[in-house]
């Protein structure tokens, strides 16, 4: 797994590539929570190049979401591959995460 930070319209974008699993999710968790500590109003996660996610990766994002909710921050997922979207759907997380097809859509809503 690789994590890169970029920006889109002044918002932080976390671009993740590769597999998010029990081995890599602690690094993701550390980076995500470090960013959330700064209370960004919006945090965008670019899933375009994510090939796999397990329950530890999902738990990391749930934790991130719960960290942003108290101050009204919004965690937005962009370009989720179909299989990963199906997993989020099965886990009923598509109801709690904001999922968008593109960066522009994510910032429009």
């Amino acid at each position: 797994m690789k994590i890169e930070l970029t920006s889109h319209s002044s918002n932080i974008v976390i671009v993740i590539s590769g597999e998010i699993d029990m081995h890599s999710s602690p690094e993701l968790r550390a980076r995500l929570l470090e960013l959330i500590d700064k209370k960004p109003p919006v945090l965008l996660i670019d899933f375009t190049s994510v090939s796999y996610i397990d329950s530890s990766g999902i738990a990391t994002f749930v934790e991130g979401l719960k960290g942003m909710m108290p101050y009204g921050g919004r965690l937005k997922f962009v370009s989720i591959p179909p299989k990963i979207a199906e997993i989020f759907g099965f886990a009923k997380l598509d109801r709690v995460f904001e999922i968008h097809g593109s960066m522009d859509d994510a910032l429009r809503f």
Binding site: H23, D54, S55, S56, T60, V62, K83, F90, A91
Partner: protein, 140 residues
């Protein structure tokens, strides 16, 4: 189920990618559909993660044995450890409507495999037997 393949890995999360890769290959050899192979990969990964997390309590110096049995009827995956005994009666995933970190792995395993059972004959540690029937064979 005839042919057997055995993988032994240290109980470190960095080796789980090997389990996933082999699961995909064994799924293809068994003629499981590509969509179901993705589910198999996730389910077997979750089962091995549970061994590291619960049976070995994060100890990365132990070992996990993953055995695949493939045949015309389907695929059986047997995961063995020598860690703390699991109590199947208390293993359950979280309520999916209760959004919180954790508790999803069991759901991923149960939705994928037709049979999920701990072997009661295993004295030390756990032997988890996961069986996936090929749909056409199972239905006939």
């Amino acid at each position: 189920m005839h042919d057997r393949v055995r993988l032994v890995i240290p109980s470190h999360p960095k080796f789980l990618c090997l389990v996933r890769d082999l699961t995909v290959r064994m799924g293809r050899i068994t003629n499981v559909t590509e969509e179901e192979i993705e589910d198999l990969k996730l389910a077997v990964d979750e089962a091995c993660s549970n061994v590291i997390r619960h049976a070995y309590k994060g100890d990365t110096t132990k070992r996990i044995v993953v055995q695949f049995k493939t045949g015309p009827g389907g695929l059986e995956v047997i995961i063995e450890d020598n860690g703390l005994k699991a109590d199947p009666s208390v293993i359950r995933g979280r309520d999916l409507d209760d959004v919180k970190p954790g508790g999803l792995g069991v759901h991923f395993i149960r939705r994928t495999f037709d049979r999920v059972e701990f072997d009661p004959k295993k004295q030390l540690g756990n032997r988890l037997r996961l069986t996936k029937y090929l749909k056409t064979n199972h239905e006939n």
